[in-house]
Symmetry: C2
Subunit: 173 residues, 2 copies
Amino acid sequence: MSVDPARDVLDAESRATGDDHDALRVWLRLLATTHGIEALVRGRLQARFGITLARFDYLAQLERSPQGLRMRELSERLMVTGGNVTGLTDALEAEGHVVREADPDDRRAFRVRLTPAGRRVFRAMASEHERWIVEIFAQMAPRDVARLRDLLGQVKQQVRSIGGARPIAGARP
Amino acid sequence: MSVDPARDVLDAESRATGDDHDALRVWLRLLATTHGIEALVRGRLQARFGITLARFDYLAQLERSPQGLRMRELSERLMVTGGNVTGLTDALEAEGHVVREADPDDRRAFRVRLTPAGRRVFRAMASEHERWIVEIFAQMAPRDVARLRDLLGQVKQQVRSIGGARPIAGARP
């Protein structure tokens, strides 16, 4: 009946119909919104810095952990498979952006941390990336941004209490 | 200062710090929430039906398009590369869930549509999937679910007006 401009685009939300439960409709919009922002950021990172979103996300997690992260921690935070993290680490280590070091707490494990050069390169990208994100939310009242964050917090808590906030061992290909 | 239980989990939001701009914090929570729901759904689809999330999403798009979809349309809706859609189509066609047909409007193109068997299999999975999503949002007041959907609609519109709602040709690997 009514026109909903937020739906007038070809994306994950295109499969929603008026018959769907409200929960399914909000989930498909959440998915479409996330994909839309990821596509925007991915395109700009590639055009501006020639870097993939996966590498940017990887460096972002390390930047917040000056003491480095274990491969397993990195994998959990990035929600990718251990294999992908290994491949990314190999590539970024070859470029001098990260180093593998023996974990002082566990001789069998490695930690990865940013090199000074990696940190410098990442920070330049991160400040542009933050401007892109600020641009996306600039049209919303600060009160609405806070409300959105709070509502997403409720959803995230519920997902976690159901048991899906962490990847389940063995459940991911 | 205050404890925020929605942040007390290892995920995309772990990289947020108190110094970040509110826009960046809400984006990282949006990303973490989406990843959390995807992980939950992925784990259950695998455990319950032995199917990947990518295949489920693919079938879901076709189910809403009885006349079938062109490969390019499927790819846009799924936000994956054309290569991935080709691989999924090959696998699902071999299992008898979808068929490729010549596009009546464009002789060089193919459309894909669900077979009756594919539709039957998908519908059984979709009704369970909907129950999982309903479970996630069941604790929220309907008013809050509607508010969340509206706020996400504002974000999505803004992303679209900036120009990132569709994948940019050539910008994706």
